[in-house]
């Protein structure tokens, strides 16, 4: 499953941000709208490049689909950064 949300939390000593829930599933809208152009670009790359572009797409798709569950939290000097991919 592709990631749906990215939770971003940044706390600094002088400023407290509320946690941001970024709905990255909305990126599907422009991707679907631009899909004919994207497909043409991939076909052009597949013809021009010696690398099997479909294999590259498959690997990057795998990476994209395995991102949910990633969690990074760093705290230092009263500042905190949190990134979660859901």
């Amino acid at each position: 499953m592709t990631p749906n949300f990215v939770v971003l939390g940044i706390d600094t000593p002088g400023f407290h941000w509320p946690k941001l829930w970024l709905p990255i599933f909305l990126l599907w809208v422009p991707v679907i709208l631009l899909s004919p152009i994207i497909l043409l670009a991939f076909v052009a790359l597949a013809i021009a490049n010696r690398t099997n572009i479909w294999r590259v797409v498959a690997i990057f798709w795998d990476i994209l689909c395995s991102l949910p569950g990633t969690h990074v939290r760093v705290s230092a000097q009263d500042a905190r950064v949190l990134v979660r991919i859901l």
């Binding site: 690997i59 395995s66 569950g69 969690h71 990074v72 230092a76 009263d78």
Partner: protein
């Protein structure tokens, strides 16, 4: 009765494991049986060393460093959780590296003390690599007066 289940019940009867641990171990055994052949798993330890394989989903890296190590005020902590599936997909990226670049990469890795041959990482031994990674636990504690801890493990 399944042999593993019998062993778990015997350990429970002998008081070697608690009822909770027995429940977790039996659940793990059932999961293992339901899994298709060839799929690897990590391990779940009981309180007295009883071990049954379960599948690890995440690689965790925890770092705690104090001021003397980082030069920053207060303790610095890093908590990273990476899905194993992301590692699998990431290792597949190595297959995109052109063959002529492999030798240069291997030499560079060797120079920096990483005796790894990238060309040997193939999809067929990828699962084995992940399997052994699931058994990995690295604990680093500084002994020079500064409290720095690094933990790498799978869960």
């Amino acid at each position: 009765m399944n042999e593993n289940r019998r062993q778990i019940l015997e350990m429970l009867a002998a008081g070697k494991i608690t009822a909770d641990e027995a429940e977790r171990l039996i659940a793990a055994v059932e999961t293992e049986r339901a899994r298709p052949a060839g799929e690897y798993s990590g391990s779940l330890g009981g309180s007295n060393g009883a071990t049954v394989k379960t599948r690890a989903k995440y690689l965790r890296v925890l770092v705690e460093a104090d001021e003397s190590m980082t030069g920053m005020k207060g303790q610095t902590t890093v908590n990273v959780r990476v899905p194993m599936q992301l590692l699998r997909a990431g290792v597949r990226l190595a297959s995109l590296i052109p063959a002529q670049a492999h030798q240069q990469l291997d030499e560079a890795l060797n120079r920096h003390g990483v005796p790894l041959t990238l060309s040997q990482i193939k999809p067929e031994n990828l699962e084995e690599l992940i399997y052994h990674l699931e058994d990995l636990t690295v604990d680093v504690d500084s002994s020079e007066g500064n409290a720095t801890k690094v933990r790498v493990f799978c869960e």
